[in-house]
Symmetry: C2
Amino acid sequence: MKAEIIAVGTEILLGQITNTNATFLSEELAGMGFDVYHHSVVGDNGGRLQEILEVADARSELVVLCGGLGPTTDDLTKDVVAEFVGEALVEDGPGLQKLQEFFAKAHRQMTPNNLRQVLVFEHGESLPNDTGLAIGIFYQKPQGTAYLLLPGPPSELKPMFLRYAKELLAKKMPQQERLLSRVLRFYGIGESRLVTELADLIDEQTNPTIAPYAKPNEVTVRLTVKCQDEATGAALLDQTEEAIINRVGEYFYGYGEETTLEEVVVSLLKAQGKSITAAESLTAGQFQSVLGNVSGVSAVFPGGFVTYSPEAKEQFLGIAPELIDQFGTVSQECAEAMATAARAKAQTDYALSFTGVAGPDALEGQPSGTVWIALATVSGVTSHQYHFTRDRAYVRHSAVMAGLDLLRRALLAE
Amino acid sequence: MKAEIIAVGTEILLGQITNTNATFLSEELAGMGFDVYHHSVVGDNGGRLQEILEVADARSELVVLCGGLGPTTDDLTKDVVAEFVGEALVEDGPGLQKLQEFFAKAHRQMTPNNLRQVLVFEHGESLPNDTGLAIGIFYQKPQGTAYLLLPGPPSELKPMFLRYAKELLAKKMPQQERLLSRVLRFYGIGESRLVTELADLIDEQTNPTIAPYAKPNEVTVRLTVKCQDEATGAALLDQTEEAIINRVGEYFYGYGEETTLEEVVVSLLKAQGKSITAAESLTAGQFQSVLGNVSGVSAVFPGGFVTYSPEAKEQFLGIAPELIDQFGTVSQECAEAMATAARAKAQTDYALSFTGVAGPDALEGQPSGTVWIALATVSGVTSHQYHFTRDRAYVRHSAVMAGLDLLRRALLAE
C-alpha cells in the first residue's frame, strides 16, 4: 500500500530544524510493509497545505501528517485536513480532562487557544499523547485515503506512533508483506574494502538486500528481507549473515543499530570477571567517559588517570622524566610506561594508555594524528602505533575505538 | 523569489538516511533571500521524479535537486531533468579529465558507466566537484524556472554549494532582500522561563524575529532580520539583543550556533592565566574529555583523576575511608574532599569534582540524578547539590555543563 509523509512547519523550510520525523516514520512504515513513495514539507500556510493534500490524496492510500497540532494560530493542520475530508472538529473527552488537570496543577489560567490541542475528528479515532497535550487523529475516508495526524515534536510523535498508531494501522490497513531488518556491526575494516569483499553477494542478492553504511570509525551492514512471516524472514537473514561472516567475520563485533563497542567490551569484562583502567593523554578522559556510558560498568572499572601534561605523567603515574626527555611523550616507550604504571596503581587486570597528537598542530615533531596505544596485561605490555586522519575530534574518537577493539580482541583471546 | 528543494533517493524514503541536505540548503537559501516553500523527497524512479518536476516547475522560480548524479543506473536525476527541460547531455571537459586521472592513479579500469558522472547540460553551467566525481549543473529555462542539480553526499553537496553554486545564484538570480541571523546562547535558564521573560518582545517583534530553541542543557535564541544591507540588519540585531540581554543577560554565555561552553571557559582560563583539574566519579572522565575538545587546552589543563570506585578515591586522591564510611561517596563531604585533593595533587588554580548517581539504579539510598559538584580555589572549596532528571547520559551531561558554568562564573567573578 502506498504511503506518504507530509511535515508541516516553517522552521523546517528555514533550515532551523531537520525533518527527522520523516526518517523515523519511513523506517517504521517500511517495516510494516507500506511503500513510502513521497516526503513533503510545507510551511504553516493553509493554502499550500491544501494543495499538497490534493496531490497526496490522489496518489497515496495512507497520508501521515506531522506537526501543526499545537495551540497557536500557526497550528492549522487539523483545521485544513478536517475541511479537506469534510469532518467536523469536536473536543476529545480524555484529552480535555488531561489538559484541564495540567493547568490546574501548574496553577495557571488556561487560555482558550489551548483547547485547539484536544480537537479531534467527529468520525475519526483519537490517539492519546502520553508526553504532551496535542491529541493525534486517525481517519479513513469511506473507501478512500486514510489520514494519520501526529504532533511535531519527536518526543511526542515517537511514543504516539509506537504505542497507539502502529497497532491501529496494522488493524485498519493490514499489509500482505512486511520487511525485517538486521544490522551487523564491523570495526577495523573500511566501507570500500568491505564492499569489495562482499561485491558479488551485494550484486546478486535481492531478498534480503545488503546495504553497507560507513559510520564514524565503523561500518554497519543492514540486511532487509521482504517476507510474509517472521520465521521465513529470519531464516533468509541467517543465510545471508552466514555468507557475510564467512568473508569478514574477523571484523564483526555485534548486532543492532544501537549496540556500541563499549557495551560489547564491558559485557566481555563482566563475563570474565576482569577489570580495566586507563591512562589518557590525547584522549583526555574520553575512553573512560565512554566506558561510563555503560550502566553497571563500576563492576569492572574502578577509575583511572588523565595525564595530559608531561608533569601529570610524572606526578600521577611516576613516569621517569628521563624517559620523556629521551623518547618524548608521543612514543612507544611513554605509552607502555603509562599503561604499566596505571595497571599497577589501579590494581586492575588490564590497563590501556593513549598518547599522541590530537592536532591541529604537530607535537614533538610528529604530525597530527600520530597515536600510540599500549595495553598492559598480567603477561606484559604491548603497543600499537596509528596514523589517524581528519580533525581533532575524529583523531580522539578513532583512538578510543581502537583502544576498545584492542581490549575486545585481548578478551576474546583469553 | 520562490525556491524548493527536491531530494532524490530511495534510501531517504526507507528511513535509512535523514534528509540533512534540505536543512543545509534551506538555511543557505533563506539567508540569500529566497523563500523556500516546499521540500520533497522522491525515490530513484523516473516517472515519479517527472511528476514532481511538473508541480515544482509551475510553482517555483528555483528548483534545487540533490542526489542521483552518480554512476549507477539508479542515478537518473540528470537524465530526467534534461528531458524535462529539453536539454542535451554532453561531457564536461575538466570533469572528464579528473575522472580519467582518478582511475589512472588508482590503477583501475574505468567502466563506461562512470562517464555518466561527468555529463552536463549543453546550455547549462557546470559546477566542479572538489570532493567527488559527479559534476553539478545550473540551468535556467529561457524566461523560466532555474534548476540546480547537486550531488547527494553532504560531503560533496556542501562544498559545491558554498564554493560554486552560491556565487552563481547570487549573480543569476539576485534577491532584493536578505536574511541575517544571530544566535545567542544561554545556560542555566529553561526554555519555558526564558520565553516567559521575553514574552512581550517575542510577540511584538517582527523584524528581527526572535526564535528560542531548547537544546540539551541549554537554550539558544535565534534573531533573524530581513534587510537590504548588512549594516542596517546588524543595527536592528544589536537593538533586539540589547533588549534581551537586559532581561536574561545573567544566563548569556556566548554567540553562534557552534560555540560551546567549554570553549568559553577555556578562553577565560587562558586570558586569566589560570589552570584547572578535576576528580570525576559519576562523569567518569567526561568533564576532562570535554575540555580536551578545545584545541590548545594543554596550556590550562595538566590532567586529572577518574575515581569511579571508593577505592580509587582513596588510592588516587587520598580520601579517608572513614569519610566515605560516614558520609558516603554521594555527599557534600566527599565532593569537597575530592576537589581539594585534586587541586593539591595537580597543583592547579581550580579543581572541580563530580560525584553522584548516574542511574538508572539508586546508590547509597539516593535516587538517580542526585549530584554533588565541588569547586576548589585558592580561597577554599564550595559545593552545590543538583537533582538532574532523565536518563544516565543526560544526568552525566547535565553535571558536566553545570561544572563548566560554575567555573565560568568563578572566573568572571575574579
